[in-house]
Subunit: 200 residues, 2 copies
Amino acid sequence: MSKNDFLALTQLEDSFASLPGIGRKSAGRLAYHVLKMPDEKAELFAKAILEAKKNIHYCEKCCNFTDKKICNICEDKMRDVSTVCVVEDPRDVGAIERTGEYSGKYHVLHGSISPLNGVGPDDIHIKELVTRVPKENIKEVIIATNPTVEGEATAMYISKLLKPLGIKITRLAYGIPVGASLEYADEVTLSRAIQGRSEI
Amino acid sequence: MSKNDFLALTQLEDSFASLPGIGRKSAGRLAYHVLKMPDEKAELFAKAILEAKKNIHYCEKCCNFTDKKICNICEDKMRDVSTVCVVEDPRDVGAIERTGEYSGKYHVLHGSISPLNGVGPDDIHIKELVTRVPKENIKEVIIATNPTVEGEATAMYISKLLKPLGIKITRLAYGIPVGASLEYADEVTLSRAIQGRSEI
C-alpha cells in the first residue's frame, strides 16, 4: 500500500508525524492502530483533542494551563502569596509540586529565550511576570528555568528586569544530582557543585 | 498541576497513552503539545482521526485497508491473479511492494495465531483466504507471516488447511540478512541459512 493510496490515512499520518518525537515510521504505526481501534474509542480520541483545545487555556494570573479563569494554585488561599517560582513549562509546575517542598505561587513562561530558534523575550510570558510582581506585592522570585543555555539566558534577562524593583531574586541550586556518582558528573556540574558547597 | 486538575487534559493524555509504544510520560508531553497547537491544526488532527475511521475499511477481497470496495492491488488487471501472498499486517504489503519483486495479489490476516494473547484462528482473516483460494482459482500461496513463534504457527495452520486443495504452498526463505555479519547472526538463523543453502 503506497503512501498516496488514500488521502484520509495520509492526513492522519501527517498529524501524528507533526507531534514531537514521532517520526514517519512511528506515525504510520500509530495511524494503523487508530484504524484498528473500535469506533467509539477513536471518536473519544478526536473529541478529547477538541475538548482539550476548547476548555483549556492560560490562567489569567500565572499563565499555567487551566480550565477556569484562575487556576487552582493561584486560587489556593493557603499558599504563600509573596513568593513566585518562574518555570519554562507547565509540566515543571507538576515536578516542583511533587517535591512538596514549595508552597508559593508559580509563573509559567511557556518557553525560554532562544534567538537561534527565533524566540525573543516578547514571545514568552515575561511581560505578565513583570506586571505581576509589584501588583501582587511579591517579595521573592525563584527562577527555576532549565539549566541550559536558553534557560540561563532567560534567568539573566528576568533578573535584570526585576532587579530595579528591589525584591529578592533567587535561582535553583546547581550541583550533583542525588544518587548520581561523582565519576560520571560532567565538569561544569561538578565545578558548580564545588562553588556552591555548604557547611555540614 | 496534578493529574486530576482538569478532565479534558486527562482524557487527551489517556487517549495518547492507549496508543502502542506511548507511555504515560510521553502521553503527557503529546497532550501538552496539542494544547499549544494552533486551533486549526488541532481540528485537522481530530478530523483526520474521524475521516480515516469513516472512509477506510477492509478490501472485500484481500482484507487490506482501502477507501474503496476493492483495493487498488486487487483491482489491478496487470497483476498475476494465480498467486497470493499472505501477510500479517497491511504494512507488510508495503514492504513487499517496495522490493518490486512480486506482482501477485495479497491477503492480509490482520494478526497471527497467538493462544497466549487469546488470538485464535477465527480472530484473524484465515476463513476469507480459504474461501478465496478455490473461488479465484489460485495456484500458489506464499505464506509471508513473520519469522516469529506466532507467525510460524499461523503458517503451519494455514498450510494444513490449504494442503487438501492441491495447490502449491510456499514460505519465504530464512537466512542471514543481506549486509549482516555472520558473527552476529543468531544460531537459529544461521542453522536455517545452512539448511537452505543453494548452489552457486
